[in-house]
Amino acid sequence: MDLYKSAAHELHEKLVKKEISSVELTNSIYSRIDQVEDSVKAYLTLDKENALEQAAKVDKMISSGEKIAPLAGIPGAIKDNISTKGLRTTCSSKMLENFTPIYDAHVIQKLRADEAIFLGKTNMDEFAMGSTTETSYFQTTHNPWNLERVPGGSSGGSAAAVVAGEAIWALGSDTGGSIRQPASFTGCVGIKPTYGRVSRYGCVAFASSLDQIGPITRDVTDAATVLNTICGVCTMDSTSLHEEVPDFTKALTTDVKGLRIGVPKEYYAAGLDPKVDGVLKKALADYEAMGAKIVDVSLPHTEYAVITYYIIAPAEASANLARFDGVRYGYRDMKATSAPEMTTASRTEGFGAEVKRRIMLGTYVLSSGYYDAYYLKAMQVRTLIRQDFAKAFEQCDVLLTPTSPVVAYPIDGKMDPLAIYLLDVCTIPVNLAGLPGISIPAGFVDGMPVGMQLIGKVLDEETILRAAYAFEQSHDYHKVMAPLGGK
């Protein structure tokens, strides 16, 4: 049985009906991992013993007639910047190569309470800084649609695992697009919730005012299911919202009649691959045919979003990563004879180039004499960007944009950092404004998946889920498995 091809909601039915057992399911996913992991390289750590123990526990619950949660007994993967107690968590960095967390992230606690199965930890860009998963210290992950292409980043490992059948669901994190862009590059579903919906407690911080954890799955129903589990107020996170969490699966209807879909012209400008543009234009036509109304809108400050992000995020990161000093945990250069020397050597040896670059950029924009021109200015432009969205949402219910202006490009493309940063143009503004965003497969260009992004109003995951579901159900993209070079 190719159980790895099934969605979580299908597997839940099978488990409840006792057609399969969780142990059987979990073993079959590990077999799939054995089969394809050499090509994909999505995982950094596997936790088979504990996973099977957990699966056996769920099987016992089922056989004794206990009611189980939707994700119970269903194996998923966790991005390696999410703290899992007792299970190595590296953030794909040499700095944390041998680090074992002493506590579970809030989302992990919630998933454990629902008896979900954790297969292992997935590869990512180092400390979530990157868009290709190539800045990982350990390995590069390969896109299951074309093994010579990047899976996107920074949650490339999670996305590749899901798409290759190496996990039924996965968690990623998104600071400037790190869930949505890999979902787009690998042809699956990724959601960045409204900022504050999901607790950040236990998510190794990159940029505190931008980071959010979210689901990566093969279909919208599964994404809504995972979202249900991980959303909710957290007493350990001051930035966690107290808003009630609706049942997101209830939003999944195919009715989009009268839905006003805003098309921001700045996202369809120069730099957008014309073939990708073609896929989006077709998607818009599909929506119109379903009864939605297309509205032209403008988000005038879009062109300033990337640099605003690349000032704010590194600034916050420079402070967030200061804790990695070799004193309490992490890599330490044991040769140094003074603490300052030890800290400098440990950080220099423990961090990769991109991380160092962003830390220094962040230090620079916060430093005396530059704070006003860069950081303060960026915070003001952030306000303008938020205002743009608020204004646009007066005329529409959701915004539709490409997730990325390009499809997945070759590994080791040797691009300038700035060129890579600029490709985040479609996803970054959503983080700056704290809005919810989802990427779903919308088509293909030259055999590579194209994702489209739906952006919602604050706390309105339901509308973007509905719009996404409607599109998904009128196409077959969620049923197609990646070729994986023929495996």
């Binding site: 041998n98 680090f99 074992t100 002493i102 900022y195 504050g196 005012s209 007493t235 001051s238 930035t239 919202l241 300033y304 640099i307 605003t308 690349y310 000032i311 200061a322 070799g326 004193v327 309490r328 945990y329 992490g330 330490r332 044991m334 140094a336 004879t337 003074s338 603490a339 300052p340 020397e341 030890m342 800290t343 400098t344 950080r347 220099t348 160092k356 670059r357 220094m360 950029l361 230090t363 620079y364 430093s367 021109a373 860069y374 303060l376 200015k377 960026a378 915070m379 003001q380 432009v381 952030r382 306000t383 303008l384 938020r386 300038d416 950092p417 700035l418 940063y421 404004a433 704290g434």
Partner: protein, 95 residues
């Protein structure tokens, strides 16, 4: 040039990082590329615009003053590179 190699060295020092001399040139160039691009922000008139340090319109998230047991001593030191008398050992603190 927005920043010289000397300034890059100073920033590196503040960040407790070292950029090896062999990479200094390329690094400084990439750094400058990004900072030059940042100039486009100066095109915008932001007089009177309130900066956004907080995306959420919430305030007063406060916790009651109740002491709760934390982690065990062993857990606290679980990942410590070097330990002495129950403390995290570090080499001499000043240069």
């Amino acid at each position: 040039m927005k920043v010289t190699a000397k300034e890059v060295k100073h920033i590196a020092n503040l960040s407790r990082l070292t950029v090896p001399d062999s990479e200094m040139g390329k690094f400084t160039e990439q750094f400058n590329q990004i900072l030059n691009y940042a100039d486009i922000l100066q095109e915008l008139d932001t007089t009177g615009i309130v900066p956004t340090p907080y995306v959420l319109p919430i305030s007063n998230v406060l916790r009651e003053d109740i002491a709760v047991e934390g982690v065990s001593h062993e857990e606290a030191l679980l990942n410590a590179p070097d330990v002495h008398n129950g403390g995290f050992k570090v080499p001499r603190v000043i240069e």
